[in-house]
Symmetry: C2
Subunit: 286 residues, 2 copies
Amino acid sequence: MSFADRLREDAGRIQSRLDRAVTGAEPVHDAMRHALSGGKRLRGFLVIEGAALCGGPDGLEAAAAIEALHAYSLVHDDLPSMDDDALRRGQPTVHVKWDEATAVLAGDALQTLAFELLAAPECHPDPGVRVALVASLARAAGAEGMVLGQALDIAAESAVAPLDLAAVEALQAGKTGALIEWSGRAGAVLAGADPAPLGAYARALGRAFQIADDLLDAHGDAAAMGKRAGKDAAAGKATFVSLLGVDDARGRAHALVEEACDALSPYGSRAETLRDCARFVLERDR
Amino acid sequence: MSFADRLREDAGRIQSRLDRAVTGAEPVHDAMRHALSGGKRLRGFLVIEGAALCGGPDGLEAAAAIEALHAYSLVHDDLPSMDDDALRRGQPTVHVKWDEATAVLAGDALQTLAFELLAAPECHPDPGVRVALVASLARAAGAEGMVLGQALDIAAESAVAPLDLAAVEALQAGKTGALIEWSGRAGAVLAGADPAPLGAYARALGRAFQIADDLLDAHGDAAAMGKRAGKDAAAGKATFVSLLGVDDARGRAHALVEEACDALSPYGSRAETLRDCARFVLERDR
């Protein structure tokens, strides 16, 4: 099966699982389902394919968990007090379609859902594995991980001078890198394998992913992105593109994709789907 | 040791534990520490005393976890798009002292912290116990528990007619009841004991607690509450007091406290501290 077919198949399975996870009939439940629909499911794909590569059990529950956590981060990131975005995955954002209070609450409950999915026996028969995944996701998502990245991003908007390259890298390591790296490692953890190779792969892939995002934003193709484009440049924000220029940014992204592919060498040709995934990041929309 | 001394001692231990939990130097970390300071620590007290009553290990880590989760819910509940409160525990709320974005992020990270504390080995040596606590807290806090209660509360504000008694009870069962019941059960779970008696105790106590809160709000003593008073009546919101009248509401609270005390009969006189706690709820501030 080609990478694209595999990505589509995994995304379909993750969507079905998430559809079953929220059943209530209140507006907050509708808002959660709205936030959980669509998207490439890159993080969940990494979990499922990583677990399969390591000979582990099905990673579907953990994949659904990381996508719920990612969805929470998007809903809150889009709030008027944060990035103030009206469009996400080609659809109105939650606070636009409902209201701010519903967006705050739906995001809150999506974070909770992520931990609920990881903690349930369906995720893995061994409670030690489940609790290890909860602990590592909490570290990746919390005030020293994703939230720190978001906070640095907000602070950068009101900073006198744009960030330098090291600061942008630190910010992105938290904001998007931590969850992508977790996704890579989680597959190996589910299988009881060494998480280092998949962790190194996902870390490099996450960095390439962010540069590609900056390149897309700089090109301003809102249709391909499903969200507002050109906003970083408009905000005078430092990005990999503004700091390195388009050519060097592109060169760096290519080098990172190579690094990601090399990290998979312990798995030989069986890891070709994940290598294709890394290459795909360079041409992605999200 | 008297109940009041015990509550103060437990609160001091919980505060010290939470002070160690957030170490960063960004504004979001300051905001988290601000949100984690003060409060009676009723939920954490229930965890610690319940665990001790059942002969279990120290419940301090789980107590810190439930207080982090409670703190997250207060920070988000106080946001302008939610209850729009400027005062909490006698201090300015997070969005007033910092800004809305920081309040959203600090609340988000406090929720994450709660799960991180529960999942860490320090909480309990058995990963099965830790993951059971994660799973039950996620159910209590999520879209069928606390968040549902918050969402119903927000919806009630724009409803044409005030809620009836059954609707207010359903709302409060989620909004404050679920976490208080979890706190009662958690102590027994940590000790490997049957959680039913402490669960029944805490459920009744939680309901008494909410009625007492409505009575306090109706009396409008902002100094005793450490937050804005009289706001429910001003908003035309249905409360136990508006639905039952002061005398009947007080009678119901007393009956619930008796119910809570009776639920502890399997523990005989050793449960006197928890019975004192239930009686205290009738005179509390929070």
